[in-house]
């Protein structure tokens, strides 16, 4: 059983006592998507599960990393607010993984909602970055390094988040069994709306293409958009199954995640095997389920020509995290940041 500190002080004490590498976990829901951490001590932040502050009039809150998404959502719903980004599990895990990015064009994402944080370095030193208010440029935005870091730079102990009012009306829609060209045309049309739908998801499965989305705002706008684009409202309040955000790997297979701009989508679809399941969110993050490591390697080799970055997120632990080459200068800076924030390589 993983040590589960209940307070920042307990976590600090544990970090000072532990010898060797540490793998930070939230609820563990994304563990299968993390690179291998053989021999690391798993340290669960699930016990840091308090909503420390909810300032409804200012539309901000402060939460500990172990707060579960559904717990926060329930609290926010009571005061007419929402955290407008996708993802479940613990809040710390959601922000540290940033697994889906924005789910629509120009939409909110963990990076845009994280106002500041309190955190511990691997040696137990605490620090703060950012602020609790919706706008602050004081100091460097070290807190933004949490997003997508997978807990490998520092351990967040409190996140300050921006919230938004819940829309007065919303509706999910789904169009299934579309031909490729029809699906891409509809996707382009919906991405071009101003305002864009609150969420958009494109899936290629065994029965062709499906497109799902969430319209939000005033009833007059939601209904008009449904009518104008011949979209039928979906019965499920939580949306159709394809809005579940991630693909699963088949036996022996792998899932690759990447970013793609809309104009490169046809070329990307042409580069992946015809029978591979493909999921893309409206903000450009995609996942593709490939049947074997060989298919993955072929795709990763082809993607730079499409100016597309991607990496393995599901598969053999040792292969997770491998991806298209990043810019050498970027790599050097990223490795310098790891070295300066966690010089002994504790967080893995």
């Amino acid at each position: 059983m993983s040590p589960t500190p209940r307070s920042t002080a307990e976590l600090q004490e544990l970090l000072r006592a532990v010898r060797g590498p540490v793998r930070l976990l939230g609820t563990g829901s994304r563990q299968a998507r993390l690179p291998a951490a053989d021999g690391a001590t798993a340290l669960s932040l699930a016990g840091l599960d308090r909503i420390r502050r909810l300032d409804a009039p200012d539309q901000t809150c402060s939460v500990e990393p172990g707060v579960r998404r559904e717990v926060l959502d329930a609290e926010l719903a009571r005061v007419g607010l929402e955290l407008p980004c996708a993802g479940g599990g613990s809040l710390g895990g959601l922000f540290a993984s940033d697994a889906t990015g924005p789910v629509t064009v120009g939409g909110a994402s963990p990076r845009s909602l994280l106002l500041g944080l309190e955190a511990l370095l691997a040696d137990g030193t605490s620090f703060r970055s950012g602020a609790r208010v919706v706008k602050s440029v004081a100091g460097f935005d070290v807190h933004k390094l949490l997003v997508g870091s997978q807990g490998r730079l520092f351990a967040a102990t409190q996140l300050h988040l921006r919230l938004r009012p819940r829309p007065r009306s919303e509706a999910w829609f789904e169009r299934a069994r579309l031909e490729r060209d029809d699906a891409l045309r509809l996707l382009a049309t919906l991405r071009a709306l101003a305002p864009a739908p609150a969420a958009l998801h494109l899936l290629r499965g065994p029965h062709g293409f499906s497109l799902a989305g969430r319209l939000a705002g005033r009833a007059v706008h939601v209904q008009a958009t449904l009518r104008e684009h011949a979209l039928r409202e979906h019965a499920l309040r939580e949306g159709p199954a394809l809005a579940s955000l991630h693909l699963e790997a088949t036996a022996g297979g792998e899932v690759v995640a990447g970013n793609v701009v809309g104009s490169r989508l046809p070329a990307l679809l042409a580069a992946i095997p015809a029978d591979a399941r493909f999921l893309m969110h409206g903000g450009g993050r995609f996942e593709v389920a490939l049947a074997s490591a060989r298919e993955t390697d072929a795709l990763l080799a082809a993607l730079p020509a499409l100016s597309t970055q991607a990496c393995i997120v599901l598969g053999e632990p040792a292969r997770r995290g491998r991806g298209t080459p990043l810019d050498a200068g970027h790599e050097r800076l990223a490795s310098g940041l790891k070295q300066t924030l966690d010089p002994h390589g504790i967080f893995v």
Partner: protein, 489 residues
């Protein structure tokens, strides 16, 4: 008499860029002695004007080898002393790097050089039904590079976010002259990379120099309504803002100007027809689908009425909208009528504490005997108390700086920040400790050192050097000393 021979470094810079793009004479350097924060002035050693990434790299390599500090600069509209260089530093002025390199209407992004003026980018894509959303008040002159360095905001960031939310990537020249590419048009962070784009944004030119910037473009909304309501009290204006936000509305902008600002604007070339007898005016802009905006406008009007608005104006066309915005956008310029210098503060408080903050600011102004006006982004709780003063008067300057410090401390005490969009620069070095302790600042310094290990890139900004805070606290004395030496006219 023959002119003095050019020192070797200046000669080498001239060899790289040509004599037309290197300035070394004392008179020529006057234009670069300060930014919009006029309290802190200093002429740099030289100014260079590169035109490409390659030229920036060549200049930076040369300065790195010579161990000479350098300061990147856009249009110099920064309000915190960020691009002001000390006498041993070379200013790398990016104003000539003003090309829009690429526009993608399909993928909604543009790649620009750092010297592109904010409003010029919108002008370049307006015919395509697109715009660049961040809109600092200085948008007609400030540059995208400067906006990136400061993580600039503006009236419309209440709905659309700050510069950081609109920057997808950047090519940066590191202080040793090497390049790094952060993010790209597909997103600011690769799935297996860190978000260095977000980290770089707002680093105030102390990490590296951005030479190509990829920004998100937004589609124009179908309908825009701009309303101006006048109120008999600041309290009523602030409560209207709270009502609008509490109702779940997200206007594109929510701006308040106080009576002193209204009067300054109405007496200036920025005259916009604001009611001069109002204690405050509230400017509300709504944008979106026409059917939605019609409903939202009715709701906003109802909030105006409930809070006792003295008058309500609604722009009926683009020209009217421009007029209503003219006063707001020109507010800082209008302050020029009040005195020779203007200290624009930039504190943030939780929106619900705006009234408390404004009362406190008034009291601080009275205590120090300074002339204070307020214009602010009410939706974000981002206050801009403006102190008009005569910078040639050391006593006035001292009172101004002291009042400014107390105002920012008040913002922090109310749960806010010492800067919402102007940055720390040199102005607030002494105030950073109000928000961050030594451990916080140490982490930030370590992060900066990854990009800028030798400290050559824009030294002396954002983070106080250990034990050096007292130096910055001496501003009034510094100004007085500068006056004594005839450094300023």
């Amino acid at each position: 008499m023959l002119p003095a021979p050019m020192p070797p470094l200046e000669r080498a810079l001239t060899g790289l860029l040509g004599a037309q793009r290197v300035f070394c004479s004392r008179d020529a350097l006057l234009a670069w002695e300060c930014d919009g924060f006029t309290v802190h002035r200093s002429r740099p050693r030289a100014v260079v004007l590169p035109e490409s990434t390659g030229e920036v790299q060549a200049v930076v390599r040369l300065l790195h080898m010579a161990n000479v500090p350098f300061v990147p600069r856009g249009a110099g509209t920064c309000l915190s002393g960020g691009p002001t260089a000390s006498g041993d530093a070379v200013v790398i002025d990016l104003a000539r790097m003003r090309k829009v390199l690429q526009i993608s209407t399909e993928d909604l992004y543009a790649v620009v050089q750092p010297g592109v003026v904010n409003l010029d980018l919108t002008a370049a894509v307006r015919h395509l039904g697109l715009h660049y959303a961040p809109d600092p008040s200085s948008q007609s002159v400030c540059t995208i590079g400067g906006n990136l360095a400061e993580n600039s905001g503006g009236p419309h960031c209440f709905k659309y976010g700050m510069t950081q939310d609109h920057v997808l990537g950047a090519t940066i020249v590191l202080p040793d002259g090497t390049l790094a590419r952060l993010g790209d048009a597909a997103g600011p962070r690769a799935p297996h990379g860190l978000d260095l784009t977000a980290l770089f944004c707002g680093s105030e030119g102390t990490f590296a120099i951005a030479t190509e910037i990829t920004v998100r473009l937004c589609r124009d909304q179908e309908s825009v309504r701009t309303l101006l309501a006048a109120f008999a009290s600041m309290t009523a204006a602030c409560r209207t803002v709270s009502d609008i936000v509490a109702a779940g509305l997200v206007p594109a902008a929510l701006e308040i100007l106080d009576q002193a600002t209204i009067r300054a604007v109405e007496a200036s070339v920025y005259r916009a027809g604001y009611p001069a007898d109002a204690a405050a005016v509230l400017l509300v802009e709504l944008d979106g689908p026409a059917v939605v905006i019609a409903e939202e406008t009715a709701e906003v009007r109802e909030f105006f009425r409930r809070n006792g608005a003295l008058s309500i104006e609604e722009a009926s066309d683009a020209a009217e909208r421009k007029r209503l915005w003219k006063g707001r956008k020109g507010a800082f310029g209008a302050m020029g009528r009040l005195n020779t210098d203007l200290y624009v503060l930039d504190g943030v408080v939780p929106r619900t504490r705006l009234e408390e903050a404004l009362d406190g600011i008034t009291a601080i102004g009275q205590k120090h005997g300074v002339v204070l006006t307020n214009v602010f982004h009410a939706g974000d709780g981002n206050l801009h108390p403006n102190i008009s003063f005569d910078g040639r008067d050391a006593q006035q300057t001292a009172r101004t700086v002291a009042a400014g410090r107390e105002i920012l401390q008040l913002c922090v005490d109310l749960g806010g920040s010492i800067s919402g969009e102007h940055g720390i620069g040199s102005e607030k070095l002494d105030h950073v400790g109000m928000m961050f302790d030594a451990a916080d600042l140490d982490v930030m310094a370590r992060v900066r050192a990854v990009f800028n290990p030798d400290g050559l890139c824009n030294p002396g900004k954002v983070l106080p050097q250990r034990g050096a805070c007292a130096e910055v606290a001496k501003w009034p004395q510094m100004v007085a000393r500068v006056l004594d030496t005839g450094e300023r006219p």
